[in-house]
């Protein structure tokens, strides 16, 4: 798969490069050129304490602890946690399916609890512990749920899979009856267009029985 960055050619930043830069404290000049035209935002009470770099109107400073690592960011408050993860800090394991809280592909953990990152603003999570699929395990050291999804062939195209796994791992700590029906009910917020449901349930049940 060709990389978008290479296809863009020229010295224009790609969208991903721009958003990565805009999220950091480095290229204030780039940010200023792209600041929102509508300047009707009142300076908020609580001006950023200890933030670096020149303040750009409307941007909110936030420190996000993602997979154990702190990221100091300045974000347009409209930035969802999902877009921040994917575009600003380049953790693209979390997927955007519907962007309206209806499919579960964007499921991450905030303070250990599974939530939909598309229906949260990133700036809400200053000081919160955020875990994404990247923080769950690596190919060399998979989380038992990831390993179970692999051995049970619990995915086809893979697009819903990170959300399924994040949801399933959180389910391990939630009150859930022992049978398949209970697992299906608690996993009903994660939709799979390929229909890998039976194997997803089998993978989850295997991990639950082993625990």
């Amino acid at each position: 798969m060709e990389n978008d960055d290479r296809l863009s050619g020229s010295d224009q930043p790609t969208r991903r490069q721009f958003l990565q830069t805009a999220g950091s404290t480095v290229a204030a000049g780039v940010m200023a050129a792209y600041a929102p035209a509508q300047a009707s935002i009142i300076a908020s009470e609580g001006t950023p304490a200890g933030a670096d770099g020149p303040a750009v109107e409307g941007m909110v400073p936030v420190t996000l602890r993602i997979n154990g690592k702190d990221h100091q960011l300045r974000l347009d408050p409209r930035t969802t946690l999902l877009d921040c993860l994917r575009e600003t800090v380049a953790l693209t394991g979390t997927k955007k399916g519907c962007d309206h809280g209806q499919c579960g592909a964007c499921t991450v953990h905030v303070n250990g609890s599974r939530v939909l990152s598309c229906l949260n603003f990133a700036v809400m999570h200053d000081g919160d512990e955020i875990t994404t699929i990247e923080g769950l395990g690596t190919p060399e050291a998979m989380h038992p749920m990831q390993a179970a999804f692999f051995t049970h062939d619990a995915y086809q195209c893979g697009y819903c899979t990170s959300g399924q796994i994040m949801s399933a791992v959180a389910l391990l700590k939630e009150p859930c009856g022992p049978d398949d029906a209970a697992v299906k009910e608690l996993m009903s917020g994660n939709i799979c267009r390929c229909g890998a449901y039976a194997n997803i349930v089998a993978a989850i049940q295997q991990v639950r029985k082993r625990a």
Binding site: S44, G58, P77, H100, G101, F121, G189
Partner: protein
Amino acid sequence: MHTFEFIRPADQEAAIASAAQSKTAQQGAEVRFLGGGTTLIDLMKLNVETPARVLDINRLPLDKIEATSDGGLKIGALVRNSDLANDAKVQKDYSVLSQALLQGASAQIRNMATVGGNLLQRTRCVYFRDIAMGCNKREPGTGCPAITGHNRTLAILGASEHCIATNPSDMCVALATLEATVHIQGPKGTRTVAFNDFHLLPGNTPHRETVLEPGDLITHVTLPPPIAGSKQLYLKLRDRASYEFALASAAVVLTTASGNITRARVAFGGVGTKPWRSHEAEAALTGKPATDATFRQAAEAALRNAKPQSENKFKIELAKRCLTHALRMAAAS
């Protein structure tokens, strides 16, 4: 999405003072409280909600479930739906509330959604959610295209010629039968509102959905002491087995003695423009034997004034059978 000022108020008073600057607390509010975000952020992405200022109240200390001095329950407005549903006292004494919550939304949404936010949940009507369409609730005076359009999921009770939008909350149907009280702190002080008075019928002002005024912050919901020996059930009927709004749902809280119903509380979801407490059903049940014939009569009474829309006449019979079935299962439990 329109730009906005994002503020995390230091305390309740600051939140209220900031929100009081909005001209309205209803549709079109310039200042919004942000709890779980499951309704507000969804609607902001559609530009149905366009607040200029968003107040993140998630860190306010309103997240406890506590006993009240009279043996009831005090539920903070920021308690998450999942925490409320899984609470031991709620499951034991107010089980209809736990059942309703667990049959709503998805696990992720239940983890995010707050009690206060669920009270203020907005309709799923496709015209309300699409700013390209007219909608009297979203923009007064622009008409109700649902009346002659897609209205399968919309209301058969409490509708007007201006608006037929259904209230989609499950939690609220259960709270109606538990006769909850909503506690509000506003710029002028605190007040309480009986649950049935909190939501408004659309009438000719469908943009006004609740009694909230600018600056009003729901701080908690209280439940009266539990009714000993009550049989409680929430039954939700819908197109999918899970993660779907109700076509019709019923919450029932029954007390029986020697085969007769001594006390009944009944409410419907999915069919009304507000959580639909049914005094008609309750009157038809109280003092009668707990039999199928009684249950069916109560259902008939409850839906007597139902007005079907062009696509949802089935809801009348569906709601009747939903209530009948719920009563039968509750009485047998």
